[in-house]
C-alpha cells in the first residue's frame, strides 16, 4: 500500500486512488467544481489543484493518482491563490444576478467565492449573453449561468445513458446544450433532473410551479387539494434538522393544511391502487400470453425513454398510470364528489421527488376531456421553499392523518419510494391474486435496494416468475439489450429512472450524501417491517373504492380512470 504525505502528515493511501480521494478519506477537504464521484474525472475546472513535490506546475488532485512517497500540499498559499483566480475568472463573465437567482442560497460557485475570500472584481469580461431555454415543462436551462463544468453532460451520458447534452462550439464561445442547439422540449431529455442535482450554479433548474400554486391557494373560488409522494416524506425532514430518513408523512399532512390546502392525500394510497391494477395486469399477461416482460410505468422519465428510443417495447409497458396520475384522475372523477369536492372548482397539486412528474402531468394522454388530472406539480425543493416562506417549521408540528376516503395506505404503497419497491409490493399482491393466500414471506430481499440489476425467481401457484429491478437508465439500457438479444426468462421488470429510485429523485433536496441516501432506504424498510398494514390488497380503503366505484381491477371504470397508452415519440437524437 502506498504511503503518501499530505500536508506533512504521513498517511496510507490505496493503490490506484486519486490524490483527492486519499485526502478526503483522511479528512482533508479540497474544493471541487467539476468533480463527480465515481464518474470519469476530467480535471477541467482546476479548482482542486494541489502542490505535488517534484511537479513544476500545480496538479489537479481529482485526476492525479497517488504514488508511494508522494508529498502533497493541499492548502499552500500558491494552491489557494490559484483556486481563487479560477473562481474570479469564472465570475468574470458570469451574470451578476445572484440576488435573483434560484440558487441564491445554495450555489457552489458563490460558496467557493466566499470560502476563497473573493471580495471584489479584478477581471472584467463581457457577460455571457445566451438565451434561456424555457420550452420544457420540467427543466429550464439558462446557459448564461453555465460555467462549463460538464457535470450534467457526464451524468446524462454515463449514469443515464441518454447523452442529451454535450459541449457545443469551442473556446470562449462554448455552451452546453442538446443536439443541434435546440430546446430541451424537442430533445432526447427525459426530464429526470439528475443534471439539476449536480449543476453547481443556476444554469439548470426546475420549471417552477410555486407561483401558480400560491395563486390557486389565494383564489376563494378554488378548492385546492394536494397529494404528496412517499419519497418526499422520507427526505424532507433533513431540511428541517431531522435525521436522514425521518418519516415526516404525518407532519407534512399537518404542514400542508396550514399552507391552506383543503384536502391532503398521500400518493401512497394511489400506489396501493397501482399495485392492485399492475399485479392484475401481470397475472393477466402471464395467463394470456403476454406481451412479456411487462415493464413498470410509474417513472415518467423511463416512459419517455421507451417512447423515443425503444418504441418496439411500448406494448410491454404496463398500461397503468403512475400513482400521481391515478390519484389525480380519481380526484377529478365522480368519486371525489362523494368526498364532498366539486370537480369543477378543484385545483389539484402534487408534491413529487421528481421533475419529470411535471412533464407527466402535462401529457395530453393524461388529461380527461382536455382538463389536466393534476394541475400543478411541485418538487420537494419547491415545497421546502413554500414551507420556509410561510414560516412553518416541520419539526414543531404535531402529525396528522391524511384525508379520507383516500386516507389509508399500506406500507406496500410507501415502498414505491425506493428502487425495488414497486416490484416487492406487486409480488405480494400477485401472490394473493394467484393463490388467494398471503405470501409466506412478505419481504423480497433479492429486489431490495442495492447496486446493479437485482433479479429473483418466484414460484407462485406453479408459475415461475422471473423478476428484475433496475434503477438509472444506464442500467435499464443494459438490461433491455439482453431482452432484445433474446432473453426470455424475465416476466416483470421494474425500472426507475433515477439511480436508487425516487429517494434520489431529480426533484429532491440537493447534495444528498451516500450516507443520507442509505439512511432513507433503511428507514423505508424499517417502516415496512413495523407496519400494521403491509399489502395493497389488505387496504380496506382500496377495497371500498373498488366496491363502491371502480368495480374490479382492470374493469371498465379502471380503464377509464387508471390506465393509459403511449405512442412512439420523435425527438432530436
Amino acid at each position: 500500500m502506498p504511503t503518501i504525505s499530505i500536508n506533512e502528515h504521513e498517511v496510507e493511501a490505496r493503490e490506484g486512488e486519486t490524490v483527492l480521494d486519499a485526502c478526503e478519506r483522511h479528512g482533508v477537504r479540497i474544493p471541487t467544481l467539476c468533480h463527480l464521484k465515481h464518474l470519469t474525472p476530467t480535471g477541467a475546472c482546476r479548482l482542486c489543484v494541489v502542490e505535488v513535490e517534484g511537479q513544476r506546475a500545480l496538479v489537479p488532485s481529482c485526476a492525479w493518482p497517488v504514488a508511494d512517497g508522494m508529498k502533497v500540499r493541499t492548502h499552500s498559499a500558491r494552491a489557494i491563490e490559484a483556486r481563487r483566480v479560477v473562481v474570479e475568472l469564472l465570475l468574470a463573465n458570469h451574470p451578476d444576478e445572484c440576488l435573483y437567482c434560484n440558487r441564491n442560497t445554495d450555489c457552489d460557485l458563490r460558496g467557493l467565492a466566499a470560502e476563497l475570500g473573493v471580495q471584489g472584481r479584478r477581471f472584467f469580461g463581457a457577460k455571457l449573453e445566451r438565451k434561456k431555454d424555457a420550452g420544457s415543462p420540467a427543466i429550464i436551462r439558462d446557459p448564461a449561468k453555465c460555467i462549463l463544468c460538464g457535470r450534467c453532460v457526464r451524468v446524462c451520458e454515463e449514469v443515464q445513458g441518454v447523452g442529451c447534452l454535450d459541449f457545443i462550439g469551442r473556446g470562449s464561445a462554448t455552451t452546453v446544450g442538446p443536439a443541434l442547439d435546440q430546446g430541451l422540449n424537442v430533445s432526447s431529455c427525459v426530464n429526470c433532473g439528475q443534471c439539476l442535482l449536480v449543476c453547481p450554479t443556476g444554469a439548470l433548474s426546475e420549471h417552477t410551479a410555486t407561483p401558480t400554486v400560491l395563486a390557486a391557494l389565494a383564489d376563494p373560488e378554488r378548492t385546492v387539494v394536494v397529494q404528496h409522494a412517499p419519497a418526499v416524506a422520507l427526505t424532507l425532514g433533513e431540511e428541517f434538522g431531522l435525521k436522514p430518513g425521518a418519516d415526516v408523512a404525518g407532519l407534512l399532512n399537518a404542514a400542508l393544511r396550514r399552507l391552506g390546502f383543503a384536502r391532503v392525500y398521500e400518493t401512497a394510497f394511489a400506489a396501493d391502487l397501482t399495485v392492485m391494477e399492475e399485479a392484475s395486469e401481470l397475472v393477466k399477461r402471464l395467463r394470456e400470453d403476454g406481451p412479456l416482460p411487462m415493464f413498470t410505468s410509474c417513472s415518467p422519465g423511463w416512459i419517455k425513454y421507451v417512447e423515443q428510443s425503444y418504441p418496439e417495447y411500448i406494448p410491454n409497458l404496463s398500461t397503468c398510470k403512475s400513482p400521481q396520475m391515478m390519484l389525480g384522475a380519481l380526484l377529478k372523477s365522480p368519486r371525489a364528489a362523494m368526498a364532498g369536492l366539486d370537480p369543477g372548482r378543484l385545483f389539484s397539486v402534487s408534491i413529487m421527488p421528481c421533475v419529470a412528474k411535471k412533464f407527466e402531468a402535462a401529457r395530453p394522454e393524461l388529461h380527461t376531456e382536455g382538463v389536466p388530472d393534476v394541475d400543478a406539480v411541485l418538487t420537494t425543493r419547491e415545497l421546502v421553499g413554500l414551507l420556509r416562506q410561510r414560516g412553518l417549521d416541520l419539526a414543531r408540528l404535531a402529525p396528522e392523518p391524511a384525508d379520507d376516503p383516500f386516507g389509508t395506505r399500506s406500507t406496500a404503497g410507501r415502498l414505491f419510494a425506493g428502487s425495488g419497491g414497486v416490484m416487492e409490493s406487486a409480488l405480494r399482491t400477485a401472490h394473493w391474486l394467484l393463490t388467494g393466500q398471503e405470501p409466506p414471506e412478505l419481504r423480497v430481499q433479492a429486489v431490495r435496494a442495492g447496486d446493479g440489476v437485482r433479479e429473483c425467481r418466484v414460484l407462485v401457484a406453479g408459475l415461475e416468475l422471473g423478476a428484475a429491478v433496475v434503477s438509472g437508465l444506464g442500467q435499464a439500457k443494459a438490461l433491455l439489450a439482453q431482452v432484445r438479444a433474446g432473453r426470455r426468462d424475465l416476466h416483470f421488470i421494474e425500472v426507475m429512472t433515477c439511480p436508487g429510485g425516487c429517494l434520489n429523485g431529480g426533484g429532491q433536496v440537493r447534495a444528498a450524501s451516500a450516507e443520507s441516501l442509505r439512511a432513507r432506504q433503511q428507514a423505508l424498510y424499517a417502516l415496512d417491517r413495523d407496519g400494521a398494514l403491509r399489502t395493497a390488497h389488505g387496504n380496506e380503503s382500496i377495497r371500498r373504492l373498488y366496491d363502491e366505484f371502480l368495480g374490479a381491477p382492470l374493469g371498465e371504470a379502471s380503464h377509464r380512470y387508471l390506465h393509459t397508452h403511449y405512442a412512439p415519440r420523435e425527438v432530436v437524437r
Binding site: 443536439a179 443541434l180 442547439d181 424537442v186 420523435e570
Partner: protein, 168 residues
C-alpha cells in the same frame, strides 16, 4: 424549430446515404472522417445528416453535434454561389482587415460562417491566406482582391452579381 422543419433535399439525402454505405458497422472513432466525407459531398453538414450519422454510429446526436461544432473545418449552412474569404492574419489585421470584415458583414447581413438568405454569398474567415504583401486581402471565389478598404466592399460584391457570361 420542430423536427418537421428539418428538411434535407433528396440529392443531399442520397449523398449522405452513399457516404454511410461506405462505412458499414462503423464505430464512434469513424465520426470525424464521416463528417468530412459528408461535407465534401454536400458542401456542408446538413442538420439531418448529423442526426442520420448519429443513428448510424449509435451515438447520441448531441455528441455528433458537439464534435462537429468543435472543429472550424465544418460548415452548417449550404455554401453560397460566391465564396468570400477574409484574411485575418497578422499583416492584414495591421492593415485594417477587421474593418473590411465588418463592412462585409454589414452589407451581406450575415456573420462569418453563414450564407446570405438568397444563397448568393457565403462569408468565411481564414487565418492567413498567404498573400501578406497584398494586405488587407480578401478572396472571392478564389480570386484575390488586394488592398481592400471598407468602402471598396460594395463594388466588389456588386461585380459578383453581374451575369456569369462576363467571366466566360
Amino acid at each position: 424549430m420542430s423536427l418537421q422543419q428539418l428538411t434535407m433535399n433528396e440529392a443531399d439525402t442520397a449523398r449522405v446515404e452513399a457516404v454511410l454505405a461506405r462505412w458499414p458497422g462503423a464505430q464512434r472513432d469513424a465520426l470525424i472522417p464521416i463528417l468530412q466525407e459528408v461535407q465534401e459531398h454536400c458542401g456542408y453538414l446538413p442538420r439531418e445528416a448529423m442526426l442520420r450519422i448519429s443513428r448510424h454510429l449509435d451515438l447520441p446526436a448531441s455528441k455528433v453535434f458537439g464534435v462537429a461544432t468543435f472543429y472550424n473545418q465544418f460548415r452548417f449552412q449550404a455554401p453560397g454561389r460566391h465564396r468570400i474569404q477574409v484574411c485575418r492574419g497578422t499583416a492584414c489585421h495591421v492593415k485594417g482587415s477587421a474593418a473590411v470584415l465588418e463592412a462585409l458583414c454589414r452589407h451581406l447581413k450575415i456573420r462569418p460562417g453563414q450564407t446570405t438568405r438568397d444563397g448568393m454569398f457565403s462569408l468565411e474567415v481564414v487565418a492567413c491566406i498567404g498573400a501578406c504583401g497584398l494586405a488587407p486581402v480578401i478572396a472571392v471565389d478564389g480570386e484575390f482582391h488586394a488592398g481592400v478598404t471598407p468602402d471598396a466592399v460594395a463594388g466588389i460584391l456588386a461585380r459578383c452579381g453581374e451575369p456569369e457570361v462576363r467571366h466566360a
